[in-house]
Amino acid sequence: MSDSKSILTNRAALRAYAMIGVLAAIWILFHIITPGHTFLTPRNLSNLMTQTAVTGVIAVGMLMVIVSGQIDLSVGSIIGFAGGVSAYVMTEMGFSMTVAIIAAVAMGTAIGLFQGALTAYVNIPSFIVTLGGLLAWRGAAKWLLGGNTIPVSDEIFKGIGNANLPVVYGWIVAGIFAAAILFAAYRRSTLTGGESGRGLAGELLKAAFPVGAIIAFIAIMNAWQGVPVPVVIFLCVAFLGAFISNSTVFGRYLYAIGGNADAARLSGINNRWNVLKVFGVLGALTGVAALIFTARVGSALPDAGTLKELDAIAACVIGGASLVGGRGTVFGACLGALIMASLDNGMSLVGVRDFMQDIIKGSILVIAVGLDMMGRKQS
């Protein structure tokens, strides 16, 4: 009875393992070829994770938009504009950090909802709406900043991008996550009547890998300066995103709408409303990413976030999402973001020239999707 099911789960699992394998290979390769073998050191890994955070936060939202069959090309420009708003509110208007944070996230959400409304209710394709947004919000950022950078002086605000979690807190976070995973494993083994067929021992064994990974991760981050705050934010966003897409009605509707919009509509789903919401979610997350970016740089730049939309889309696609909609996972998108950041980080360490980095990243994106298509055809 469980034949095809195990084939299915195996296939999805196989894909995840393959990606983890690719990531490991990239890391080992960089570690070997970097002068002084500095890639796999706590310091660099901490740096790498921080670099992943901005792209990763957007990729989680982008994944949900892509799953629903839409696309958003404007997030890079929104980072510029929302980041500009946060700095402007503090430095030029003298408001507190809290106001700045709320302003940036609210701005991102509002823009997302606006563009979502144009897509869902005015029937303008999201590609066009957000292509317009790509230009318009970049222009808005330049106009707001008057072509200059606006520095931020609030040290706590800068901490959003630069501070680290004290070692003890890191371990507490690890404990919470580990407990949550183990509890979920326990629940699976009892509540559903053992439908997975693994039993308690099997479920715990399966949970051992993520728990081990979390402990190792915290240990490595603590070996440098503790878990960076942007990484904490990214992980929270990732867990929340995975939860929404897997375990909520909203998430299921997104997959249904992207998989077959007509069937979804005829099944009583309000496609327009859900598309509007998912653009709102991405907008809010873009606001968060803008805060991390601005805090990390310590000032708002008119060209902040340029090309970030492409990084986020690439992360989703490398992670197995289909641009037609209906397929993709938050986990895959996060791994995709980590792979993209690893390439950036590693190539910089090796000293690959700028233009060469772009060529290599572009080629890897196309090759990754090509291999994926070939794999699908065979199965």
């Binding site: 469980s2 095809s4 559903t192 009605v249 998989g259 077959n260 979804a264 099944s267 789903i269």
Partner: protein
């Protein structure tokens, strides 16, 4: 010497033996029907013949005009005179009829298309078939029936001597079917051999010289059509006797559940064009109401408008269990207790790449799973009942819907709507393109559901289905209601007369 011989054809897919020693011959000028349940191997056999599966991917011999052939692709088979017209037409809708006929081989001078010559030849070809289709018309502007004929013209322009037709009449009106058949007879007279795949046995018996039955990848038998009967062929197809396809079921009628008055529906593309014109009907608890009519009579549009799914202009009055109700969206309809098994399960019913479970719980997700958070185990529990009662054949509920046979896919869609606990269930072409065995199961299910007090509205292009299942039949012709018959009065001739608009008066004054 036969025109075509296929000897002991075997074709294996990973884990499945799709063809297990099929032998088939076709004479010059013969009309040879190939019948069998879905999955019997008809399509696979035709893909072997057309080179979709190139030589080497299957075992066995293909002989044309007495000499062995081996095709490495579709081009080879076309050059050998084989043309296949698939169920899904392969025309480019945005191009003209002439361009489609000569697609890829347009007459040209120095690489520039010679349009005058192209349309001259196209006109001649269409003329030979006795068709009055404008070769410059866009294919998309033609009806499905005419498109089918264009497809045949295209095949003939390639000098096809072996013409394979896969369910060519599935989407045609009766008049179009007649045109098609007269053309096929003409081709037969010109010596074209035809392999005709169809589920419609009436047509098979009307046209065929011989009938070959496939079952489970094997040739069961080849009969001269004159020596076979419908019952014997069906028995061979399913491997068992089908005594009575429509089991006699007495439905206990209750109160009127749904009443629709003065339904007007306008075309989405041409907002002035009325597709449904002032149709009224009602259906009682436990009743099966059949809606008969030809393709394009407005039957699906009628249901779609009531369900809140029609995206064009429409107006209507609805009463549910005696009280007036407004339905603006499918969600309103589902809340009110209306379910809608739409036509074309692949386009409108299923999310093919998702699992049975995902599909089945979709319309009732908030009820069976949770308002905000989903629960996989509650969904499994909810889906277990329809899985069992509908006898859906799949390894588990986690099987991907797209990998199921048509019959099982249809059952998944039916299960999806049963989970919404409807009071009224609309069924639009519920048995199209599924095999005899699965059809029968759906018929039994319809009777079972009616027995539980569900009000059922059944739209079907297969007249025997409507007559066999419905307690009452209404007939639409060009958007208007042209007849209403009780089960006793509903004969094929009366319903057809109303459906073709010939007997509008007699139907009411009878």
């Amino acid at each position: 010497m036969p025109l075509l011989e296929m000897h002991d054809i075997q074709k294996e897919f990973p884990g499945v033996r799709a063809l297990d020693g099929v032998t088939f011959t076709l004479e010059t000028g013969e009309f040879h029907a190939l019948v069998g349940e879905n999955g019997a191997g008809k399509s696979t056999l035709m893909k072997v013949l057309s080179g979709v599966y190139p030589a080497g991917e299957f075992d066995g011999r293909i002989v044309i005009d007495g000499s062995d052939v081996s095709f490495s692709g579709i081009r080879d088979s076309e050059n050998a005179g084989v043309a296949i017209i698939f169920q899904e037409l392969s025309l480019v809708k945005e191009l003209s009829v002439g361009e489609n006929i000569f697609l890829g081989r347009a007459p040209s001078k120095l690489g520039v298309i010679d349009w005058t010559e192209l349309y001259r030849q196209a006109t001649r070809l269409l003329g030979e078939l006795g068709l009055s289709i404008d070769p410059r018309a866009k294919v998309g502007s033609l009806g499905i029936g005419q498109q089918q004929l264009v497809e045949i013209a295209k095949a003939l322009s390639r000098k096809a001597r072996i013409l394979v037709l896969d369910e060519p009449t599935a989407a045609l009106t009766d008049a179009e079917v007649e045109t098609l058949f007269s053309i096929l007879r003409d081709l037969k007279a010109r010596g074209v051999g035809m392999i005709y795949i169809s589920h419609r046995l009436d047509e098979v018996f009307r046209m065929s010289d011989r009938i070959t039955v496939l079952r489970d990848g094997r040739t069961v038998a080849t009969h001269p059509a004159a020596e076979a009967t419908k019952d014997s062929i069906i028995a061979e197809m399913v491997g068992r006797e089908v005594k009575d396809i429509f089991p006699e079921a007495k439905h206990e009628l209750g109160d009127v559940v749904l009443r629709a008055e003065n339904v007007d529906v306008y075309s989405v593309d041409e907002p002035d064009k009325k597709i449904v014109d002032g149709v009224s009907f009602s259906v009682r608890a436990g009743e099966v109401l059949g809606i008969a009519g030809l393709m394009g009579a407005g039957r699906s549009e009628l249901l779609s408008a009531i369900f809140g799914a029609w995206q064009g202009k429409h107006s209507l009055e609805l009463e549910l269990s005696g009280s007036p109700i407004t339905i603006k969206t499918p969600r309103d309809a589902i809340r009110a207790g209306i379910g809608f098994v739409t036509e074309d399960r692949k386009l409108y019913g299923l999310i093919l790449e998702q699992t049975i479970l995902d599909n089945m719980t979709l319309a009732a997700l908030k009820r069976v799973s949770g308002r905000v958070l989903t629960s996989r185990s509650s969904e499994r529990q909810a889906a277990a009942e329809p899985m069992r009662s509908l006898r859906i054949k799949a390894p588990s509920v986690e099987t991907v819907a797209g990998t199921l046979s048509g019959g099982n896919q249809q059952k998944v869609v039916l299960g999806k709507w049963l989970l919404t606990r409807p009071k009224v269930l609309f069924l639009d072409e519920p048995t199209r393109g599924i095999d005899v065995g699965a059809k029968q199961e759906i018929y039994n299910e319809i009777n079972k559901l009616a027995a539980t007090g569900l009000a059922i509205v059944l739209v079907s292009s297969e007249l025997p289905e409507v007559l066999g299942l419905a307690d009452r039949v209404i007939v639409l012709h060009e958007g208007k209601k042209t007849g209403e018959f009780s089960k006793a009065d509903a004969t094929a001739t009366r319903v057809m007369a109303a459906a073709t608009g010939h007997a509008a008066n007699t139907a009411f004054t009878k």
